[in-house]
């Protein structure tokens, strides 16, 4: 501990320590992961099967169940991550946050660590939904590169929405207001995206919103990485760039706002 100047390696260690705390909590209480899996299960089993029979949505040559599976993975990533800010409010109330903020770790390392922690939660969702999709006969890609890509985008998408959630938590500060805002945001985010229907089907005003919605880029990438014979509409490079830039901006904002949550 003789050095005053910190290296990137030190920062990485601090970031991973914050993420490690989240992973250890999950290990102590894995039930949460199972209960989280129920909602996507219902979407895939009920909504997916019924809509598949309707043939109401043009899905570019794949079955609706195929089309839906990546959308539901993205949905579940967002729905978990968007309430992540609640844990920051809880940590503020319990005094844990003050201690993190007094530690030598820079604010951004704390924010990225939290985002990674949320990503790990989402990875477990990805595994559950992937297995479920196999059982439902979705035509999945099994090449290692595609699976690694899937995991990377799941982590990235989760980090984006968890950090967004942290920004909201810093602004609204109380859990009651946060719950209100969180619920207000989830459905519009979901419906103004390509998760359950293609953007091409939307009225032009909604399509314009969908193009601004990071969830659209996440779904686009997940669909290309999960489904056999599906081409990315926006390009995987674009998806990666958009999500990375949005994440960088959100981390910068959250790192600046983090201390104000203490009030």
């Amino acid at each position: 501990m003789g050095r005053s100047r910190l290296s990137l390696r030190d920062y990485l260690g601090q970031t991973l320590a914050v993420a490690e705390a989240e992973v250890r909590k999950l290990r102590h209480d894995p039930i949460e992961l199972l209960t989280r899996a129920i909602q996507p299960l219902l979407w895939l089993l009920i909504f997916g099967q019924v809509m598949n029979r309707l043939h109401a949505i043009p899905t570019g040559g794949v079955s609706y169940e195929d089309f839906l599976a990546p959308g539901i993975l993205a949905q579940s990533v967002v729905f978990i991550a968007i309430f992540y800010g609640l844990s920051a409010i809880w940590e503020r109330d319990s005094g844990v946050l003050a201690k993190y903020l007094v530690s030598p770790a820079p604010r951004w390392a704390l924010v990225v660590g939290k985002a990674l922690g949320s990503g790990v939660r989402s990875l477990s969702q990805a595994v559950v939904i992937f297995v479920l999709a196999v059982l439902l006969g979705v035509h999945l890609r099994f090449e290692p590169a595609a699976i690694i890509g899937l995991l990377v985008f799941t982590l990235l998408g989760s980090a984006v929405f968890a950090t967004f959630s942290l920004v909201i938590a810093c602004l609204v500060k109380t859990r009651e207001r946060f719950m209100g805002v969180g619920q207000l945001l989830t459905m519009p985010l979901f419906f103004a995206s390509n998760a359950i229907y293609p953007v091409a089907l939307m009225p032009s005003w909604l399509a314009a919103i969908a193009r601004l919605n990071p969830l659209t880029y996440l779904v686009d990438a997940l669909r290309a990485l999960m489904l056999v014979g599906w081409q990315s509409t926006l390009g995987l490079g674009t998806d990666l760039a958009v999500l990375s830039i949005v994440l960088a901006v959100l981390v910068a904002v959250a790192a600046r706002l983090y201390p104000i949550i203490l009030g």
């Binding site: 501990m1 003789g2 050095r3 005053s4 910190l6 030190d10 260690g13 601090q14 991973l16 320590a17 914050v18 490690e20 705390a21 250890r24 909590k25 102590h28 209480d29 109330d93 319990s94 005094g95 844990v96 003050a98 201690k99 993190y100 903020l101 007094v102 530690s103 030598p104 770790a105 820079p106 201390p259 203490l262």
Partner: protein, 273 residues
């Protein structure tokens, strides 16, 4: 946690005209403090006097509205990162993570404070044993008593080895036995490591038991500084520190305080179980 360029300073905490306002309210009003390196210093005053606000400024959580403060030789406003590298902080609320074990709490913070991997395990084990919570090391903190959580939080400073340890109302809400146990551990920590301890309290017997120097704060201003013995002698024959407190603040110490202070006290008490 000493940096290589740091030379020992005579006063590990110094403030000059330190001030903090919240809107029209001046919570801390032009405070000048000097805390000798290696001492146990107590900031005493009724609830709402400004004690926690001072600690939050010294620990870089809150920027001062005016004035200056140095901790371990670093400016709290412009060298916040260096300050944080050299301090330990135990907030008023019980701040250990209840969803992790005691060991894990120490491990995560050891990593945040960059305690070298080769030292971590040994130091954590030693710290847990020193604080008398080795047996509960792998139980989740949610099953700890309030006194055990406090000891765990203080144990953290044995792992990180800060120059200054800030304790904000360290025994608030603890029962007498747990309070005395915490005092004993603070004293032995100070004896063994020579860590400077900067604490706030509104319990006068706590200040007498631990502090070599105390400063009384009332309505955001320091009204008296000195050793407990000298202040008592000054207050008259047979005077207790409680008498000094009442003379200086006009309060019994059990009343007063803002709504948020009171609700924080209750919240802490609830978590102490």
């Amino acid at each position: 946690m000493l940096g290589d360029a740091v030379t020992p300073v005579q006063f590990v905490v110094q403030t000059r005209g330190l001030t903090r306002s919240f809107g029209a309210l001046t919570a801390v009003d032009h405070i000048d403090l000097q805390v000798a390196t290696g001492s146990i210093f107590g900031l005493l005053g009724p609830n709402g006097a400004g004690k926690t606000t001072i600690i939050r400024m010294l620990t870089t959580l809150l920027p001062p509205s005016a004035g200056e403060a140095w901790v371990a030789g670093f400016d709290v406003l412009h060298q916040a990162a260096q300050v944080r590298q050299h301090i330990g902080y135990v907030p008023q609320m019980l701040s250990a993570d209840p969803d992790l074990s005691g060991y894990e709490n120490l491990l995560i913070f050891a990593k945040l404070y960059r305690v070298p991997a080769s030292l971590r395990r040994v130091r954590i084990k030693e710290a847990l044993a020193f604080m008398g919570i080795a047996e509960a090391a792998h139980a989740l903190v949610r099953h700890y008593s309030g006194g055990m959580i406090r000891r765990l939080e203080i144990a953290q400073s044995l792992v990180n080895r800060p120059e200054v340890l800030f304790l904000d109302e360290p025994t608030m809400g603890l029962d007498p036995a747990a309070r005395h146990a915490v005092w004993g551990h603070v004293q032995s920590l100070w004896r063994q490591w020579g860590t400077t301890i900067f604490m706030t309290t509104h319990y006068m017997e706590e200040a007498e038991a631990l502090c070599q120097t105390v400063a009384f704060i009332h309505q955001g201003r320091i009204v008296k500084t000195g050793s407990p013995a000298a202040l008592k002698a000054e207050a008259g024959e047979g005077a207790t520190l409680d008498d000094v407190f009442i003379q200086l603040t006009g309060e019994s110490g059990e009343e007063g305080g803002s709504f948020s202070e009171a609700s924080r006290t209750r919240q802490a008490a609830r978590r102490h179980g």
